[in-house]
């Protein structure tokens, strides 16, 4: 910005400099209460109960821990895929709405988002328990004779987690789709593309930035998820966060908990970096 006079120039410099200094208090706060604790977790994994890689040997060794990590990744991946498949058509529908209809649809997407996760998971418990909604429905329709045990189990976990994660996929998709220039679709029309080709060749590629951001977001969140798997999953679908909490709080095996946490941290950070890279490329999505 060109301001007349050197004095004004110096003022601009000072204004920006001054603002930059404002970063110190929050920066300090985060260093002490976020980065330092994370660092301690990592260090602790190598130090407790004694210095060495013992904890990692346990994690990656013969025991069930590797399996838990693998389950976590698997579940997170499948949840992400399901979310994408469900959210894409819905996001398309929402992105084409205008005015009040759009606001209404967005409210429908946001309300579940704002309901506490604990409460929503609880709701799914009621749905899936032996005297729950689903069993009642199945029995009254004559599809089953006795109550089926859905809880704890994979169906409940997937239904519950997809339910929680869907809005995280919908919102970036809608944002991205709304940013697609409608004239491009008209151009495709005039150039001779029938609707399905117009979708495949023009709309879909242009929505990919939103897709990748949504996928990264949902995957990252699913990896670290606690409540829903804990309530609906049971021991066979043990996920990392649940395991870590158990190790630390219940079994007091902090070294192992930290090792597991560090591994989870590494995976999540890798996805986070990928996410950042994707965000940089698409300016239409909210910058984080």
């Amino acid at each position: 910005m060109a301001l007349p006079g050197e004095a004004a120039g110096r003022r601009v410099w000072t204004f920006q400099r001054g603002n930059a200094l404002l970063l110190l208090p929050p920066g300090l706060f985060l260093i002490v209460f976020f980065f330092w604790p994370l660092l301690r977790v990592v260090v602790r994994s190598f130090v407790e109960p004694q210095l060495g890689l013992e904890n990692y040997a346990t994690v990656f060794g013969a025991g069930p821990y590797l399996r838990v990590l693998w389950t976590t990744i698997e579940v997170a991946g499948l949840v992400t895929l399901l979310c994408l498949l469900l959210a894409y058509p819905l996001a398309y529908f929402v992105s084409r709405a205008h005015g009040r209809r759009l606001k209404l649809l967005m409210i429908f997407v946001l309300v579940p988002l704002w309901t506490s996760v604990v409460i929503r998971s609880f709701g799914w418990m009621i749905v899936f328990q032996r005297q729950g909604v689903l069993n009642e429905a199945l029995q009254s329709l004559g599809l089953t004779e006795a109550p089926v045990t859905f809880l704890p189990g994979p169906l409940a976990v997937y239904v519950g987690m997809v339910h929680i994660m869907l809005p995280f996929m919908i919102l970036p998709l809608v944002a991205s789709m709304r940013g697609i220039d409608r004239t491009l679709l008209r151009a495709a029309d005039v150039l001779g593309a029938p609707p399905y080709r117009r979708f495949l060749e023009v709309f879909l590629p242009l929505s990919l930035p939103g897709v990748s951001a949504g996928v990264a977001l949902v995957f990252m969140t699913s990896l670290g998820f606690f409540i829903t798997p804990a309530l609906l999953g049971g021991p066979r679908m043990l996920m990392a966060a649940v395991l870590i909490e158990e190790k630390a709080n219940v079994q007091l095996d902090w070294g192992l908990a930290c090792a597991l946490a560090t591994t989870l941290l590494l995976i999540t950070t890798a996805i986070y970096l990928l996410y950042l890279k994707l965000m940089r490329r698409d300016a239409s999505l909210p910058v984080r």
Binding site: L23, L38, L90, V111, W114, L166, P167, T268
Partner: protein, 281 residues
């Protein structure tokens, strides 16, 4: 677009899909409400009888009342700290001409992105060392950490919605940096601050993981109490709590919508940010 019949059939299918979809999204929230009025003492569906006894039980139960009180006692200060620090960081990143602003943003937003469980087991020893474990301050700080990014995103969006030339113009008119903030910056971003504050509060109110590690029996929050109850016994009293919380969060959402109207750019990022935060709990 000119619609031949071929174009319209997919439209109907889409509309049907959408309706089912929204039913799916709203199902668990809506189920809880009738459950809370159930006349029986175990959770079965459909609930039989109609009774307000669970709500009455809640009102009488000191444990639930103190948990609710704790949630507020923790949420409000945590939101406040998050607002102050989040606003400062937003000002620094958006107006500070940092060379590494993208990195700074990534680091500031990180607490929102990474699993809370990791932070929880990291903060536990830190709070232990500081003697803040099981008290209010420890968990307040923890919640402030995860609330900060929410405020940051909200206030950043507000800052980006107008040109920095406004502040420069104010200064050429003779306003000192402080007056510039009071008269120019703050009026422009106060909706963003308010929105971010509500989000930070909501995130704290719903947060489970940090509460599990950092609170004690006396400072137990609602999510933690619900969690303990869910694991031990399921009575409709939990449904009653859940319904109340549901109503409360709708209220918060409405408030957010009011604030969000002022800054349109927030609308995409905010709810997403908040929900992510609550999901990590």
């Amino acid at each position: 677009m000119s619609g031949t019949l071929g174009n319209r059939i997919p439209s109907y299918a889409l509309a049907a899909f959408v309706t089912l979809f929204f039913a799916y999204l709203l199902l668990p929230s809506l189920i809880i409400v009738p459950m809370s009025f159930s006349g029986q003492s175990f959770l079965s569906f459909p609930p039989s009888g109609f009774s307000l006894r669970w709500y009455q039980g809640l009102a009488a139960d000191i444990v639930w009342r103190s948990a609710a009180a704790n949630s507020f006692l923790i949420g409000i200060p945590a939101a406040f700290i998050a607002v102050v620090l989040g606003t400062l960081s937003a000002l620094a990143v958006e107006r500070g001409a940092l060379r590494w602003s993208m990195t700074a943003m990534a680091l500031i937003v990180a607490p929102m992105m990474l699993p809370h469980v990791i932070l929880a087991i990291g903060l536990y020893p830190v709070m232990l060392d500081l003697g803040l474990l099981r008290g209010y301050l420890g968990v307040i700080i923890g919640h402030a950490v995860v609330g900060l990014p929410l405020v940051f995103v909200s206030v950043s969006a507000a800052l980006r919605s107008y040109s920095p030339a406004l502040e420069l113009a104010a200064m050429t008119c003779g306003a000192s940096p402080l007056r510039c903030f009071l008269h120019v910056t703050f009026p422009m971003i106060r909706m963003g601050i308010a929105g971010g504050g509500i989000l930070a509060f909501a995130a704290s109110f719903d947060e489970l993981m940090l509460a599990l590690f950092l609170t004690g029996t006396g400072t137990r929050t609602l999510p933690r109490l619900i969690w303990e109850q869910l694991n031990d016994f399921l009575t409709p009293i939990v449904a009653a709590v859940a319904t109340l919380i549901f109503a409360f969060s709708l209220l918060l959402l409405a408030m957010l919508a009011v604030f969000g109207r002022a800054t349109r750019s927030m609308q995409a990022s905010l709810p997403l940010a908040s929900a992510e935060a609550s999901a990590r709990g």
